[in-house]
Subunit: 336 residues, 4 copies
């Protein structure tokens, strides 16, 4: 931590700061410039930097060590590759996850999975417990949905991901699901994150609607600090002033995250934009920018979908897009 | 719902839209203007408006009924007054809640509560389970903290509020606490909201960091639709591009919420700004703007506080502020 | 305009609204639903919708005609192709603009242009008048800079773009420059826009840092309504809460704009991100998403650049990127 | 400037950084901590910190001197009081500016000014050149409007403020106006700012819609560095994701600015919220938070106003509000 004193502050103020940080277990290194005295606080204790900022004569306190450790490239240099029963995410491998917003019935999942399987998709998505803004909206099939998801996936030799919403649901998800998804609204549900750190299945951690990249990595750190090292990050749009799209897909998060963390990063263009006709161009942008995978909503019959039909692709539309994406991937020297 | 067709669209397109909404259980009223044909869809069914927007010839779909019902002024015209064992929030009554960020020990709570009691504060706050961004930070005393809080409050005849983080903690909170607080990060933890709808104690519902006022009211609707009608809203700052304050306190949310909802609205100037020296001016602004109460962090010794000391007021500072606030309240014809 | 009345409003209130809009020159069409009465106001007059919203019994007023006309797809269905002396933007043609942030000297421009020309770049950029946040920073070479830009461009048979900051500078720009650039900070400098509507040279209109897509198109409308129909839009990042990149590049603006407007849209990945190592991935994302061109900062020696060296590519780096971009363009069936 | 090296970087990397900053005219002070080596760069040269961030082994570069000087409390400790022919802003004096959005006619101004004068308002506002989002909207009366404004103000012994939009208009404004207003959209029109630095009349500098407090102060610095030291800042709402109010009034900017700058700060509740019924509560909030003044839209007949009638107060409504504001001011020991 660096403590920058105000120009021309008194010796007493400097001394008070030094004593304060020593009392908190830090060593102090003073260095005087032409304008500013800077005090380096060296140590591993946790301290709220605002406590120092409120001392007399202090101009600014700057934290110089990252708050996250296990998720950073400093801790682990090479890319983490998450291997979900043979399907890989990260390190040059692009993974494709597709399926409907919600599990509605066996027929719906079977019909959709069949089409996806023909395209070469190996991971199926589908919600069983749904986080809905309105208490009056459909809330999902629950365990019944997870069972259908598993059964259909096994029929087509696919892996399965679904969103877990609460600590008490984890055992159910361990039973049926290959990748446990944490939704954007739960990115800082710390009890849930802590519990997910204790299991040994991959976690797909979505970025919160207004979460900074640092906060997102801190949430991943929660899971990793519990011992679960299999985390896939997922960018799904942030909230901005622009309202023509549901959210603003932060494509630049891809190279930024890849620089500071070793974890793979996916993009969810369906939730980011909320509209089917923008999904293809955003999918292509994500792959061209270097994303380690995509999670796309596809429904065999979007018009009759119980939810989010408007952002779901038709199977044919998806098939065509997937071919384009494979061609784009080749050019940037990656592959699905 | 109003469906605005594109200028000069064909009769077939209009017919298709009409058939579509009828198939979803709505009646259709067509009205032709000089430029645009507008179709009114009348009915009480739930439908995703994007499904209609994707039909040919549709320019825009406009929802005209509010998504929330029970929380709105249309449903209940007069102000809701929440009465917590004699302490009132709403309808001209301003309530003051104060106390430290976290329960650290009996002595700390006793010392702080004593000072607050002398000032006339009747509701004590203190966290027992803490939502911390870092897995390495202090996570609270748990049930032990709730016990201390209750014991100290009883000694000074105060009511008590504390943050509940998970469904499984609710019984514990029902035992010790008078007002259950839902933190900003849990504003859309729908399982938690649903469970809080089933109990019969007041809920203090904080606004999420990036929640629109509409989403916030929808979260209150979750609780109310479960049968619990005692909800106090709490504005605590929203995330914007400005970084000189931790968040941007949205003071204009006060009159806006009071116009569309009958629920009381509090302001938390401590979390909104994150810095002690801004708390007094923001407290005064909130009261002048018509807030139904405040929740302010006060610690008998902020320098030694385990967390958020930097945003906690000194007891003397708080006492002086409270006097000013009472004088301001009088001018706008309200009272603490 | 549609005026939605509150549920169960009185006949008098409806009558008052009808009289009000008639007094403003509109026709009124009343349609009664089960809950809401909706009044359609038909006419071409300009009215501030808030004036109606303040009348008793009014719930909401909804504008249904676009505020922009000339820039919209409704006005002109086919893509506008801007042809700058043989270099095309739009309608399947992707244009590449490159060059340094600022014109520093003849040598610097000559050295850089030579390298760009070898890669096949046909439009050269370079600032002569610089909008700088600090009054103490370098403000550009002025007319001397424009002269150098022109001379060097002519030597390599290139076209030229540079930023115009004020009405009084327009004649100078008409003399030296092929495309006049309007910077993000001037996107709503309406006097400048109006004057640019009177000339007959292409305008590159950057999106303001916090401008909605609608406001951006309205600024283009200012120019077009003056008679100048050659406008190229340029997305360059919007301001959000995320601070790891200078701005957040709004890639989804590309398909959104292309749907509602016929004008070509470029992307400026250099200013959007502010860091050289993110520029290549964002350039690829933009092309994959369907952008009609790019404007990239390249400097023959970024370390010695007077400004924005940190976001300028090295010529070799650019050459390699350009090859990748051409390959990506082919896959989405466009070409440079 | 402080340059924080990555943990365990090599001696060569440190040496390269030292040589680089020396070549740019800085002195280097090296200090080694347990994890990080920190290099202090001491000197007064201007350098883009990203140039250093791109060097090998650099983790972060931190600027520690403010970019603004003349506007800061370090440069001048006591509050600046702007005295406009006897009307004071700052240092405990609260100034009230009121009037219509636009000058429409002599009668309209006369009628409105008469009412304001009776309430004790001493500064009249009114737009003559209007920045309008749409090219098809009313653009103001121009010089004729300024003449009317002056004439009416003189009749009631009032001072006058109006918005200047372009360098070429400045002489006109010097002739008719007492305070020149710079609108939010022109906050970074640097040519305009520079020219306003050369005149000797007070400037009312509005904050840009998405300007950080630092950028806003830098714009004030532009004017002051030209020699004009009479600047009044004006907060008027920032753009956020919340759409129930036109903008989000950043009330916390008041204490933040007052801490770091000596300049007075006003609030414009009319443009911030865009709706008449929110203006009173926001005005009270601003005064309670310590604002040095207000600028409020008042029209003798808002229903017939040419523009922004919806956010204009009725004279009676304003009169009542002004009395409340005076009472509030007394409590925080200031006065109008």
């Amino acid at each position: 931590m660096l403590i920058v004193m105000q120009p021309n502050t008194t010796e007493q103020n400097i001394e008070k700061v030094v004593n304060f940080i020593k009392s908190k277990g830090f060593e102090a290194h003073i260095s005087k410039g032409s304008d500013h005295t800077v005090i380096g606080a060296v140590g591993r204790k946790v301290i709220d930097k605002r406590d120092i900022e409120l001392l007399d004569g202090v101009r600014e306190v700057i934290r110089i060590s990252s708050p996250y450790k296990l998720v950073s490239r400093v801790f682990k240099q090479e890319d983490t590759i998450i291997d979900v029963k043979g399907v890989k995410f990260g390190g040059g491998h692009i993974g494709m996850i597709a399926g409907p917003c919600t599990v509605e019935s066996y027929e719906q999942m079977d019909e959709t999975a069949k089409r996806l399987c023909e395209c070469g998709v190996k991971v199926l998505r589908g919600g069983a417990f749904k986080p809905r803004t309105s208490p009056y909206a459909f809330q999902g099939l629950g365990e019944e949905g997870l069972k259908i998801l598993r059964e259909v996936a096994d029929k087509y030799d696919m892996r399965v991901t679904s969103e877990v919403m609460e600590v008490s649901q984890i055992p159910l998800f361990e039973k049926y699901v290959d990748i446990l998804q944490v939704g954007a609204r739960n990115m800082q549900n710390f009890n849930l994150l802590r519990s997910l750190g204790e299991i040994r299945k991959p976690i797909l951690l979505k970025r919160g609607l207004s979460a900074t990249i640092e906060e997102w990595l801190m949430s991943a750190e929660y899971i990793m600090s519990g011992g679960n090292r299999e985390i896939i990050l997922c960018e799904r749009g942030i909230r901005t002033f622009e309202k023509m799209t549901r959210n603003t897909l932060d494509i630049s998060a891809i190279p930024v995250v890849q620089k500071i963390s070793h974890l793979p990063i996916l993009v969810d263009p369906s939730h980011a934009t909320g509209l089917r006709n923008i999904v293809p161009s955003m999918s292509k942008a994500a792959i061209a920018a270097g994303a380690d995978g995509l999670i796309i909503e596809v429904h065999y019959s979007p018009e009759t979908a119980v939810c989010d039909g408007a952002q779901s692709l038709y199977p044919d539309q998806f098939a065509e897009l997937f071919e384009e994406l494979k061609a784009l991937a080749k050019i940037i020297k990656k592959s699905f």
